[in-house]
Homo-oligomer: 315 residues x 2
């Protein structure tokens, strides 16, 4: 069984590829919940929804988030009422938020609700939140601290990034914890998610980093930077604001000690020697997932690395 | 200033007529909140919404409830998720419920939220809930006690009516209380609402009936029964189940001691003498509101009665 670690869109794409290749019992997808927030009384889990909608094939590939064939009547209504309208709530998407909010208020855990939501849309692989307790990502910016969605959506990541911290007593989700301890676990795969905004929340969970460092199975991460630009999202801007060059190599640096191999796109092949010098295996492969074929191919490449005799691969 | 008492559709139509004739400062519309309930975590006030949507001209006249140009994407989504789908939530309508739920959770009163909602859709007359405290109508039926929406919507009023009671420590809403005490109050007008399901909740509010009986201004009620049938809703069925003939006269009986005059449709003119024998003035006029013209005409007739020198009218 393999464990995929995912943030939003990039991680979701790789997870969908992995789910095409691996049987339901052979894959667990753990998803960042640091972006979760309560908006107009609704419990919203943006990354869980992105993963779920992508796995179910219900996501809007044009817009890049939310559901396909979405309508916006409720949002029109909220706007007319003068309610906060900086976070777009599609009508179909609202069904998810209402269901989740209602079930959580009944005492269900986020893990349970996520399983119910997945089952309802036909997802057979396990999608689990990284934590059942609220883990709230706070971004320190040039304009002071902002809650994640304030920074990410309301302010479009415009304030300069200065740091990140996590509020709320988040603990490893039961399912993630048991997968990490499971003797059947064969690999840990980090999707091409933002290593700061989406992966750090995992590392901040008590026990996660120790489990990762103490693992006896291969761990691989896929670069979210291709050709010195982020495939999606504010990673390049954030790296620049941190004074770090925007490159796959610099992302690899963030993973040193945590993984065995780093996957980079063919355009970044020249960086492979420097990444190897960090003590990592490098997998050079087409890493831009533009359709089902490319994401499945990338998933297969990662799975092959994890399934191979590692000594043989490393040489 | 006149006070209109309203349940849902019928009362809302008359209120819209009254609002066409009377200036904003000359009309307050108090609305039944006994039908209010919390559904999927949303605070829903069906009668307030019906009155608000009708006054704003946003109501769906074909369907008879909810908003015109409504879409149902969220409902599709909820159905797919296996959520309760017996209460239809339109996407536009959801904006109202989300806004109300959110503001209530922030500590606003239902009176305040209703004023905000009304302002946002351009309503200038005061629409006030009968109570800010939850007043929950419970229907005793042949299948036991049911909460109002369980009886009314989920079960389509199918179980036989046996009685009605009210839960929750509902008290007169501040605005309704102050209007009842206001020296400027010139009349109290009961719309053609269900006297059992929509008007009794008002009478159950401590102080309402005493204020009504002790009033020094005319009070008028419009019959919801025309030609021995209910214009809309389960009133005729309920009266039959109570062993009462379905007639304007029998509705008038329920109002004895509470009003001065009862408005009946011209088709019910033969019942006028019997209603007069109850000690009520009778206003015989076209009472079926099929369009703006008929509802405005009915409103004008009621206002004329209330504005006239009552001694002259009574003779």
């Amino acid at each position: 069984m393999m464990l995929a670690i995912s943030g939003g869109v990039g991680g979701a794409k790789l997870a969908a590829g992995l789910a095409q290749v691996l049987a339901p019992e052979d894959l667990t997808i753990a998803v960042n919940t640091g972006d979760d927030f309560v908006h107009l009384g609704l419990a919203i889990s943006p990354d869980l929804d992105t993963v779920m909608y992508t796995l179910a094939g219900l996501n809007d590939t044009q817009r890049g988030w939310g559901l396909a064939n979405e309508t916006w009547s409720c949002m029109d209504s909220l706007r007319r009422l003068g309610a906060a309208d900086w976070f777009q709530l599609g009508d179909r998407d609202l069904g998810t938020h209402l269901y989740r909010s209602h079930r959580l208020s009944q005492g269900a855990t986020l893990t349970e609700v996520t399983a119910e939501l997945c089952r309802a849309v036909g997802i057979r692989h396990a999608v689990v939140p990284m934590s059942d307790a609220p883990a709230r990502t706070i971004i320190d910016t040039s304009e002071g601290e902002l809650s994640f969605q304030d920074y990410f959506v309301r302010r479009h990541c415009e304030p300069a990034f200065r740091g990140i911290r996590f509020e709320g007593g988040a603990a490893l989700g039961d399912r993630l914890d048991s997968v990490l301890r499971d003797g059947a676990l064969k690999a840990i795969i980090f999707g091409p998610s933002n290593p700061i905004l989406s992966i750090r929340p995992f590392l901040a969970l008590p026990g996660f980093e120790a489990a990762l460092r103490g693992r006896s199975v291969p761990a691989v991460a896929v670069s979210p930077i291709i050709g010195n630009a982020a495939v999606k999202g504010p990673l390049a801007k954030i790296m620049t604001e941190m004074g770090t060059p925007v490159s796959a190599l610099e992302v690899a640096r963030l993973y040193v000690g945590l993984i065995d191999a780093f996957v980079i796109d063919v355009v970044d092949a020249p960086q492979a020697p420097a990444i190897r010098d960090l003590g990592l295996d490098v997998i050079v492969t087409p890493a831009l997932m533009v359709d089902a074929a490319t994401r499945n191919a990338l998933a297969r490449t990662v799975i092959e690395y994890c399934s191979a005799d590692r000594k043989a691969v490393r040489t």
